[in-house]
Amino acid sequence: MSVSHKVGTMKSKQAPNVNSHQKAAVAKGVKAIGKKKDEEEGLDTAEGEEWMQGKTLVKPPDQLDLTEAELNEEITRVLKASNPNAPQNVVRYSFKEGCYKPIVFVDQMAIHFELEGNLVHKESDEGRRLMAKQAEVDDGGGVERPDNVAIKAAKREQKLTNQFNFNERASQTLNNTPRDISCQTEPPPRANFSATANQWEIYDFYVEELQRREKSKEKHEGQFLNKEEDKSKKKMIQAETQNDDISQLAKVVKIIERMVNQNIFDDVAQDFMYFEDASDEFRGEKGTLLPLWTFQYDKAKSLSVTALCWNHKYNDLFAVGLGSHEFTQQGGGMLLFYTLKNPSYPEFIFNTASGVMCLDIHEHLSYLVAVGLYDGCVAVYNLKKKTDQPIYNSRASSGKHTSAVMQVKWQKDDLDSNHNFISVSADGRLVSWTLVKHELVFTEIIKLPVIDTIPDDLKDVIPTVGTSLDFHKQKDYSFLVGTEHGKIHKGSKYYSSKFLEKYDAHFMNVTRVKWNPFHPDVFISCGWDWMVKIWDQTMKSPVFTFELKTSVTDVAWAPYSSTVFAAVTTDGKVHVFDLNINKYEALCQQKVVSKKTKLFNIEFNPVHPIIIVGDDRGHVTSLKLSPNLRKKPKVESEVLNVHFQMSLHISLV
């Protein structure tokens, strides 16, 4: 429906209102006259309708008062076909352009009145349906009325009701009272179940299933009664552990402690892994030692470190033996295990009755630790067991040492595959101990020869104190023993009566003797006479001699090079030598502990470039070797050989 657009302008003077109200105001009078004129004009145009003459113009009281000029003002009124109620400022978001765009063409149709009709076209679907229905009704109605049957038969099309002879009969049957029968059952028990089926849940389930099957197999093979008892016991224990909340967390708490420590010592850990002293390039040959962690245990404050040993299987675990070197200050002792991952607290703590003098960790079974004590006992600890007591102790057995055990060393398993180790003690005997079932069986190997200065009748009484022991890496029947008098004896396990060789090494106590891990003939010794000497076993006099300013308490070969070794002295200094680089001087002489602290032990880590040193305060300090100290030669033993040839030449000359 469109309204034809008629845009016409209508001039109108605002005044004329057809009201019979006359006002006497002058201005209005003018208007009145004007109105009259209009009226007359209108009258004229209207062809003189007489009844219109009587009308006079009356102004309404609220009419606007306007001046003549304003009256004559032409106001344009436009007749538009647009809907005043239609929105004029509709905007729609255009996805194509990504902004809001105004819509210009808005529907202008305004519906004033709407009436729905009820006429349906004959040909349409609904029309046809209705017509069909109508025909049906007509047919159906015909059957029920008997009077009209004839009529109906005749006139099927027309349905006429006979108004005169018309009978309608209706009957109402009795309605049965409706009944509702319903049955209510108890709802089946329902439970909500939800689960996730991830890959790992499936895996877990299969693992459990496997375990269950294995257990059931055992059940069939084993004894029924015992298994049931065990199962009931297990159930008991499980129930208890559920109540006892905390104990299950042992492993987790350990991990957390290590994490916390890692955070605290973060910079040290970073140094340990990554720091390489770049200034070594400018230092020439010299190197430095970078202090890393310090390990201390407050209950071990009064004790001094007497032994250190790294674990071969777990390269961050090391054992510390604590006791006392002084004869007069003997108390208890301790065996502690530290890991580099947790510098604040030891992993394992064992208290011993007397001071620990030496210890050794088995090369293959890294949970077996042999310990030699000041009172002459040897003990073997098993780290896997949770107890504080050693699994073997020589306290009760005969043949135990009568004096402090100075060194213990594990040996290869014997023919019956029993573990065994050898100890040397201050009573001058070398004894081999074998772990047979639940006891230690001792076998005497050899007795250290007595020196000549002791008169014959006292030879049996005053023993030669053996202070150090080392076995050859490749030919493990060959060993070296250092004594208090400064002599070093070379022996063999196969000869139990005599030593093969004797070296006059030092003037005072020999504190350490060690075979070179690469060269088969070379060993090093150090003593209280301020000397460190390097020997070739075929020669009676040392090949190299170094004098350090104070008593040397320990010396160790580096595991990565045949020419590098380090020594510690009682003035708290660590001396590192590399014969390949400098045959006369140390590459590094560094004081690593506070004043008046003596260093007693040093060990190189088998894998990492760090060393640990033990002092007499019970502290263990770890130090990183700078690159200059870690130079590896190309072929290990060759290098040392070359040096030996050269120095031999010099010494012979």
Binding site: Q199, D204, I246, S247, A250, I255, I256, M259, V260, N263
Partner: protein, 103 residues
Amino acid sequence: MLDIECAGAEVEETIKRIQSQKGVQGIIIVNAEGIPIKSTLDNSSTVQYAGNVHQLLMKARGMVRDIDPQNDLTFLRVRSKKNEIMIAPDKDYFLIVIQNPTE
């Protein structure tokens, strides 16, 4: 039996040691259902930590095991500007330690 008792005492001692370490602000032990059973922080913080960490832990563990079912989560560290939250899960429990590492 003795072993279990000793383990409990050992764990208590270790927890005390951790608490006394430098920068540690709090320790919370939460059981498998996400209910804190032991804490050194106040109740509202504990509940907040326990609830949030529980969800994160389940998600992290699910992720690790989804990729390789034979693998399992050992620990989780969440380092933020102010502190570090360390979470170590166990089969039935998990442990949360809040530490300020730069202190």
